[in-house]
Amino acid sequence: TQLLEQSPQFLSIQEGENLTVYCNSSSVFSSLQWYRQEPGEGPVLLVTVVTGGEVKKLKRLTFQFGDARKDSSLHITAAQPGDTGLYLCAGAPPLDYQLIWGAGTKLIIKP
């Protein structure tokens, strides 16, 4: 069974600080997605990374897919209260149609 481990599970930091969230597995994924979920809403897709070593930027968010396609990271620069939410990673196993989900990182940015 493939697993995706996210760390940390919970992070509370001050506005303006930088942070990194990790998503790790011992298995290879053909692609990996990051979602953000705000309270009372469903997850919303932020980005999909496909190629080993790929880096994608979305304003202050930087996403990286590991060279071996087993792990990924999300780095937020100068975090703002609007970044508060639950961040979920989801990996697509090769030759399988079901996404594997991480347990999520709950992020709180204090003003």
């Binding site: 599970q9 053909s30 692609s31 997605q33 979602y35 009372g40 809403e41 469903g42 997850p43 919303v44 897709l45 999909t48 496909v50 979920l88 989801a90 697509a92 149609y97 079901q98 996404l99 989900w101 991480g102 347990a103 999520g104």
Partner: protein, 114 residues
């Protein structure tokens, strides 16, 4: 924009009741999913459907059934609700772009079974 609508934001039911959770999507997506979300466990797939009248079990189908009579509507049924089914239920539809599947979620239904 894709819209996935879940019929209820909050539901309170009693043990043993039959519960229907409805989900409608407006983008003609073929694939639809039901997940439950519990703190610390992430999203767990209950059932999914790739076509009308077609259903496939996910990771935790026990105690649930589904119905997909029309392409836009995917219903989750709890035949006899139990307290361990108290959870947030999320419906999603998906769009295939190349080799990637992009999920669009509804706002969720928080179900409490007393």
């Amino acid at each position: 924009d894709v819209k996935v609508t879940q019929s209820s934001r909050y539901l309170v039911k009693r043990t043993g009741e039959k519960v229907f959770l409805e989900c409608v999507q407006d983008m003609d997506h073929e694939n639809m999913f039901w997940y439950r979300q519990d703190p610390g466990l992430g999203l767990r797939l209950i059932y999914f459907s790739y076509d009308v009248k077609m259903k496939e079990k996910g990771d935790i189908p026990e105690g649930y059934s589904v119905s997909r009579e029309k392409k836009e509507r995917f219903s989750l049924i709890l035949e006899s609700a139990s307290t361990n089914q108290t959870s947030m239920y999320l419906c999603a539809s998906s769009l295939i772009e190349g080799h990637n599947e992009k999920l669009f979620f509804g706002s969720g239904t928080q179900l409490s079974v007393l």
